[in-house]
Symmetry: C2
Subunit: 365 residues, 2 copies
DNA sequence: TTGAAAGCGATACCAG
DNA sequence: CTGGTATCGCTTTCAA
């Protein structure tokens, strides 16, 4: 009489529920739940009956009912600026990989601002939405703006997440203070910039243009600071006329470099705030008939794969983006056990200068 | 006595529930639900009391409880090959944008195969997982392999999704047949390839190398077919020695082009299966001292933004990737109303050849 | 080893 | 316009 699949309204089959399975197997729902979760002893024979029923009915558990009852969602959230930017997409890839490894799905959202909303506010709201979804962790990626109010709001979110057993992971962004319950995955921007600048200085450069990076963004500040410290360390006074912050995109690199080329500002090397900016700058330079590195040296930051596809291949600082993504979910999911409490609330991945072809000694050294 | 936020075990605050809000505002949960969803008349005064309580308690609804009760999740799923590949990441961006517009979150997963699992199987499993999550729609992106068994399994998934009121969207992949409940967002691969090849032929090329694309993938087949049809239309016999399928990555383009350069195969133009392959091929060509387009012409497909950052700027076929992403969620969410049933179960976005700098007449025409 | 039943936190129907 | 309450599908004591 009844067809195999239970039918609901409007001729749509409704999904079989755990009750259907229980009935079909002649056991209780509790038993079904147990064999499905395998966290409780069940007689072999019973188990098999249940499994059969499951297969026959093509039953799959309702993730929401499960989340509601067990308050665990097998989901991690990640919030980036732009999924198309390689910096972010490689991190997303890492997160997605590791999430899959732990049998979780990945909520991805972009807070790029626009239409009257600042990317900061969007970010906060997205965290809230992911908390509503009870994501097991929420990973926010990329530099943060230096703003006390913002920091406070973010700290609130961190606490709100902690309250429901989730956790906020800061990936590539500074801590909110020891009292705020977050985990961190960082890399040394200041140090990398220092090393990279040193490399330039060692080649004989003294007037180095700093190009790009949103002003006020932690990433920019740190890189700029490393640049300045390296200069100072070699007795070169950093001058403001050589610092041109702005943005992180290739477009910015291209247009600003082009503008700068029309001025009589002089420098023998360009430190681009990231590889994308470097790519744009390279294009502007090349278009203007300036050879890299013969006429001007150029370096980037991040070491996205595209950077060795440029001609000349770009000298840059390697940042293990995918690894950071993976580490973010690992650290988030790693519930501290009795043994090593606070084992790792923070991991710092290593970076290093990758010397390729875009740097040479200055022409008139 | 009681602190504001209800406390649960282990000193963690638990989230306020709708009951808390109701109690706080002195109304019933039903009323709270009504003001929150704004889908039912509520007295102004009552509404305000509730809203106050909500604010005071920092209440946010539990998305799972809501999903369970209302069976609607405000979530769309998208399954791609690789989040780092621009083809996919631009589509993801479009999906994410449109999802946000409809106040939905986005589940992103990658089925890139590996570790013994084929990307096809992974794709199927991911669809299942997203169905467990009751995603309002599941969008699978990119070409499909020509395999009857696979098609049947995919059709099963489509039905399973339809059964729970969700929908499978095929984005850039061929239909599963009229009887299968899916929506489609397509673009004309065959026609684009035809036009592009014609462009080459019009410039005087007759021996055109076809490079890249996984054999058996619908995308590859369609582009190849367009290429052949164009040749035939101009009375040129397509020959197999000029067809070199393989993969879609830049790496493939580079290495295979390089290998081909060592043979004595002759051709005056290269039709790369996509822009990434073209970028790789360009690099190999350039490295070998061959000028594009003076010595050899080169075209790509997709028109990812990088393609006009190449030197020479790449002539290619424009595919509106972001738009496809947006359209995918629009078409998925567009419940057909009484008026125009089956209004749009399928949309085909337009493509066109973008002539830039990488094509010139052959040297010895 | 298994079952009964009490939640989990919302929605929506049915009265009032 | 508002309140009571059954219900969604699963997990998890508590007993047997």
């Amino acid at each position: 009489m009844n067809s195999d699949a239970p039918r609901g309204k409007a001729g749509t089959t409704r999904m079989p529920t755990i009750d259907d399975v229980a009935a079909h197997a002649g056991v209780s729902t509790a038993t079904v739940s147990r064999v499905l979760n395998g966290n409780y002893p069940v007689a072999k024979h019973t188990r098999e009956k249940v499994l059969e029923a499951v297969a026959e009915l093509r039953y799959t558990a309702n993730a929401h009912a499960r989340a509601l009852a067990a308050s665990a969602t097998r989901t991690v959230g990640i919030i980036v600026n732009d999924v198309v930017d390689p910096f972010f997409s490689y991190i997303v890839r890492g997160v997605e990989q590791e999430a899959t490894l732990s049998d979780r799905l990945c909520l991805v959202a972009a807070a790029r601002g626009g239409s009257g909303r600042s990317s900061r506010d969007e970010e906060l709201e997205l965290i809230d939405r992911m908390r509503e979804q009870r994501a097991d962790a929420v990973i926010v990626v990329g530099g943060a703006y230096d703003d006390e109010g913002l920091r406070r709001k973010m700290a609130d979110r961190a606490r709100a997440l902690a309250d429901v057993g989730s956790v906020l992971v800061l990936c590539g962004r500074p801590s909110l203070g020891d009292s705020v319950p977050t985990k961190m995955v960082g890399y040394d921007n200041e140090g990398g910039a220092f090393a990279l600048t040193e490399h330039l200085i060692a080649q004989g450069h003294r007037r180095i243009l700093y190009l790009g990076g949103p002003p006020g963004l932690s990433t920019t500040s740190a890189r700029l600071q490393g640049y300045r410290r390296a200069l100072l360390a070699r007795g070169i006074a950093p001058t403001d006329d050589l610092v041109h912050e702005g943005a992180f995109g290739r477009h910015f690199g291209y247009t600003r470099m082009r503008e700068l080329l029309q001025t009589n500002l002089s420098y023998t090397a360009v430190f681009a705030a990231n590889d994308l900016v470097a790519a744009g700058a390279l294009e502007a330079l090349t278009d203007a008939g300036i050879r890299v590195p013969e006429d001007i040296s150029l370096v980037g930051y991040d070491d996205i794969p595209q950077s060795f596809e440029l001609r000349p291949k770009l000298t840059t600082v390697h940042v293990p983006l995918e690894e950071m993504g993976r580490e973010s979910v690992r650290i988030a999911l790693h519930r501290e056990d009795a043994f090593d409490r606070q084992s790792a609330n923070e991991v710092v991945v290593g970076t290093h200068v990758v010397v390729r072809e875009s740097v040479a000694p200055p022409r008139e050294a």
